[in-house]
Symmetry: C2
Subunit: 295 residues, 2 copies
């Protein structure tokens, strides 16, 4: 699609999307860029330019601003995205409104509408980690988490998410625009439902194949939460969920399996079906919004 462009905008509001008591301003700056880059990754594109609108409360100090901006520049530089403009205003709380402009991968673009019956469902990374980190940071004593959090992986997943750009490029390179892709910023369940809806297909996912890290399980036990609730509905994981033809996986699993795992398949029909346990185990229709899954 030469001449065409990708553009994405995402706002982070203090109190809604982050708590400055749980993250450093460097982390908040990083995250504000990363969540926008994740939207570019979700289409397999390249980020190029960044616009930053910052609304600050009167109490915000120069030092806090410098730390925030350091995090923004750090993430932008890491992913070769050039800051080209912005806007500064005042507001009752800190608000970061970022816009990323990017270009399509030379092999095309993967949209959420591209899933077809017969595809397999693949996903990056581990799910529920950000929700676990958020719970842990809120519930541990401030001294413990500010100096050296015990649950480093999940804390980092919440504070400093990684946009899955390279993983997306490796997939687009092998699929030539055939397939679907989305990021799981609003949760795995939401991503699956969105792809199912946009592609008009039934997606069947095996819960036991969904990657969940041991640390996430450990924090869930501490919290008395079913870890699957976090994995499906926790959100803010910024992982990729894709649907591709099985031949892609057969031919390139040696390169793709370093980033992706197979978690299900695409069928004729509508909706998202979650399989639990053995082949003839229980199944449940998955919705976008939180539902308790118990068998």
């Amino acid at each position: 699609m030469p001449g065409q462009q990708l553009a994405t905008t995402d706002s982070l509001v203090e109190g809604t999307h982050f708590l400055s008591s749980l993250s450093s301003y460097e982390d908040i700056g990083w995250k504000s860029v990363a969540v926008n880059l994740s939207d570019i990754a979700a289409m397999g594109g390249y980020p190029e330019h960044l616009l930053i609108a910052i609304s600050m409360p009167p109490r915000f100090t120069r030092e806090q601003f410098t730390r925030l901006y350091t995090g923004i520049v750090d993430c932008a530089n890491t992913y070769k995205t050039r800051i080209v403009g912005g806007d500064l205003t005042s507001a009752p709380q800190l608000i970061l409104g970022l816009t990323v402009l990017g270009s399509f991968h030379e092999n095309g673009c993967l949209k959420r509408s591209g899933a077809r019956p017969g595809d397999i469902v693949i996903a990056t990374g581990d799910f529920g980690a950000s929700a676990a980190g958020f719970w842990y940071l809120q519930n541990e004593s401030s001294e413990a988490h500010s100096i050296r959090p015990r649950y480093v992986r999940t804390s980092a997943a919440h504070r400093r998410p990684i946009p899955r750009l390279a993983e997306a490029w490796s997939l687009v390179k092998r699929t030539d625009s055939r397939g679907a892709l989305m990021d799981s910023s609003d949760g795995l369940a939401d991503a699956l439902c969105q792809i199912s809806w946009a592609s008009e297909v039934l997606i069947e996912v095996d819960l036991e194949l969904v990657p969940i890290h041991d640390e996430t399980r450990e924090v869930a036990t501490l919290a008395g939460v079913d870890v699957n609730d976090w994995a499906l509905y926790g959100g803010e994981d910024y992982q990729l969920v894709g649907c591709v033809r099985p031949e892609i996986w057969d031919n390139y699993s040696h390169e793709l399996s370093s980033s992706f795992v197979v978690i299900g398949r695409v069928l004729e029909g509508r909706g998202v079906r979650l399989k639990v346990g053995s082949a003839d185990g229980p199944e449940v229709e998955l919705s976008r919004t939180f539902q308790q899954i118990r068998f």
Copy 2:
């Protein structure tokens, strides 16, 4: 500059940039688009695409949202700008973060750095009107201004500003990238200081030539305010301030003078000098931030 692009972002925060008690949600929606289009006009460009990030408080109703969005669509349609994406989140107050993508005029682009000694300074429309409207709407009884405000022109200047796109195009068409242009969103004094700083020139403006509407003068008298304070520092007028070679004005004043008036000239030096009254009348060095000008 083929292949190059314009991108601008501006956030409007409830309480900081607008009060929903003084403007309808349709007006707020309109204004959020118009202020971004004004930034495109400030470079003489064409707006093409619009991204909208809306953060809403929990109390925001569906009807209020519909009215807000109607105003957004209205302004976008009026200026042929296509809404291509956005983001919806929650926040303690209404925040509108808009991004406009556009393209350069085929005759180039006017930046604030393009003023040269010998240029004349020209400006559109009237100054201080938005500040006057804001004062009037805040100080009149709510019944009076909601049904049929007495000061219609200044009220509209505050509620529903007009991006000066066509005026900017008429100028770029005749200047071929030679000259400076900026919008007066942060006040006429700020615009003049920014051009002076970026172009490394001295700008001399004759206060008596600055267009101020009779209605603005009338409201200023009511308010007990020096109307020049509003004209220079009121801001939110979204008028254009430009510096062009005198031949441009000599040759095309028949078409440009329907939009622009001459308010001063560009000299060797630095800063902004305001002349008051006759040729040998008093002069004052103008700063970006508010200063009382009394002689």
